[in-house]
Symmetry: C2
Subunit: 314 residues, 2 copies
């Protein structure tokens, strides 16, 4: 940490970069650090691959966003990014900077840096940036607090994922004392549903079918239903949980016809079924209670193959 602080203190121009498809943690921690470093008199620029998503457009610090990726910086700080490839078109900013710092909480990280700080126990990169700002002795104001809260609340699913630790709540307590609009933030990042996602939800509910005395839930979206609603990839997120959350269900299978005749399957279990093993039978994989696979064929055939394997372990 001392080395990190020395590198930061000696730099005047700082670029902050994070992974592409930046989420609440990536953006929240980047803007929080940018705002804090600005307070110490540095020239700070945040570089993003895409525009800030509408869902996160309330984040303070967006005045620090820069466009000129040719500019050379004394220091580049890369946040929440495990791999150079995830920097996309902005990799050169990191490579060209005189000095480099990487701050990350992923399990694997192969970034090269003059200062490398990896903490796999941090629930969010936002937690690490919080500690860094503390070490830099920059007071956390309301704008920084909004960024850090957003980072932490999104990466912990609202303090619910198992990565949440006692320290997560301790930090949240300090941020709430700054009277941030935490209820509005949570509403914006968790509740608002796009029109395309709502259409997919509707189809998912319509198609939801129970098997094995209600222990297995299956639902699907056909390609012909995806096309007209202009669905984005993240619109599909969580649709497998519609079945999983139904009372009495142990295994939920969700099939998405990505291109005609080609299905992407998601499997979730609640208590005891090892869905990673089931997915592996179809060249897929994942975690014990959350796995996936891909398969060509007809919906009914794929469904029946899976159902027969699920039945064996219920």
């Amino acid at each position: 940490m001392k080395q990190l602080l020395d590198i930061i203190r000696s730099a005047h121009s700082v670029a902050i970069i994070t992974h592409m498809s930046a989420d609440g943690d990536a953006l929240g921690s980047s803007f929080a650090l940018a705002l804090a470093l600005e307070q110490t008199g540095k020239k700070v620029t945040v570089f993003l691959e895409e525009p800030v998503p509408k869902m996160l457009d309330f984040l303070p610090g967006q005045h620090t966003i820069g466009e000129n990726t040719e500019e050379v910086f004394e220091l580049a700080i890369c946040i929440d990014t495990s791999d150079m490839q995830r920097l996309g078109k902005r990799a050169s900013i990191y490579t060209n900077a005189a000095r480099k710092i990487t701050i990350d909480h992923h399990t694997t990280n192969n970034m090269k840096a003059d200062g490398l700080w990896i903490d796999q126990k941090a629930a969010a990169a936002g937690e690490m940036v919080y500690y860094l700002i503390k070490e830099l002795k920059v007071p956390i104001n309301r704008e920084i607090a909004i960024c850090l809260y957003t980072a932490i609340v999104t990466d912990t699913g609202g303090f619910r994922y198992s990565n949440t630790g006692p320290q997560t709540h301790t930090i949240a307590s300090e941020l709430l004392a700054l009277e941030i609009p935490f209820a509005d933030i949570a509403k914006k990042v968790f509740d608002i549903v796009s029109h395309s996602k709502m259409s997919l939800m509707k189809k998912t509910l319509q198609n939801l079918t129970l098997y094995h005395n209600g222990k297995t839930a299956v639902s699907w979206i056909k390609h012909e239903d995806i096309q007209p609603v202009d669905a984005q990839s993240d619109d599909f997120e969580g649709l497998v949980n519609v079945g999983r959350n139904l009372e009495g269900v142990e295994v939920s299978l969700f099939l998405r016809e990505e291109v005609p005749g080609h299905y992407k399957g998601s499997l979730r279990a609640n208590e005891y079924v090892d869905v990673a093993r089931i997915a592996s039978l179809f060249s897929g994989g994942g975690h014990v209670r959350a796995a996936g696979f891909s398969m060509n064929g007809k919906l009914e055939e794929i469904r029946d193959k899976l159902l027969s394997e699920i039945e064996k372990v219920l």
Copy 2:
């Protein structure tokens, strides 16, 4: 607080009671206090109006539940209850007890007690019980922590309602340090959906219609759709939010045909519309962004009356 502690310390037999239709906060704080008082050697009995809901059947401390409402106690502690009527058949336990304590965080409370502790700033009764256990110098073990966490997480909607304060997170931090299964608890209390609720959700999505360039969402459930799914009153909770959470929506109207030809209407607004005023035009009322009313008539007529009023203020 000193008076409260004195009353508690001098009692050997203690009855704990809470309001009927006990929720996570009512049950969690009751069992937490029961477990803590047991540790000090007291004989503690918790009296409930109904069985513990399935959703909360993981709560420790259920061995303290008693049935004999004729028993007379040295002390009765009433938790999270603003009014004697909410004690139902158990009111006599409170009345007959030699001494009485009331612990509550509601805005209005008209209970009579030898020790009355009302804290409207507490996010949950569970927060107050946490402080009380601390004052009693009883160590908070994992079982008590599970009860307190459940109380707090349910009454704050997962740390999201505006009643959540910095102290809420400070307490949560201490409870998480005891390695409680907080992710499982949140899943059980927030995610699991009953079959009847899923049917109502499906209908709500199917009927969802947008007006006023997508700023108003309307949905409804007809009496003929409620009957076959054996829906309970709390299955309807949150259905108005399906429309409210849709991107671009300002006002959401949900109509539930309670008996044929009689509708209960819920109104929600996101940013600026005063739905309490709209509800008041139809003899209803509520808060600025959450209100309700009742009306007899045909679905289309009621919908059109509301739409015309909503349109004026969009």
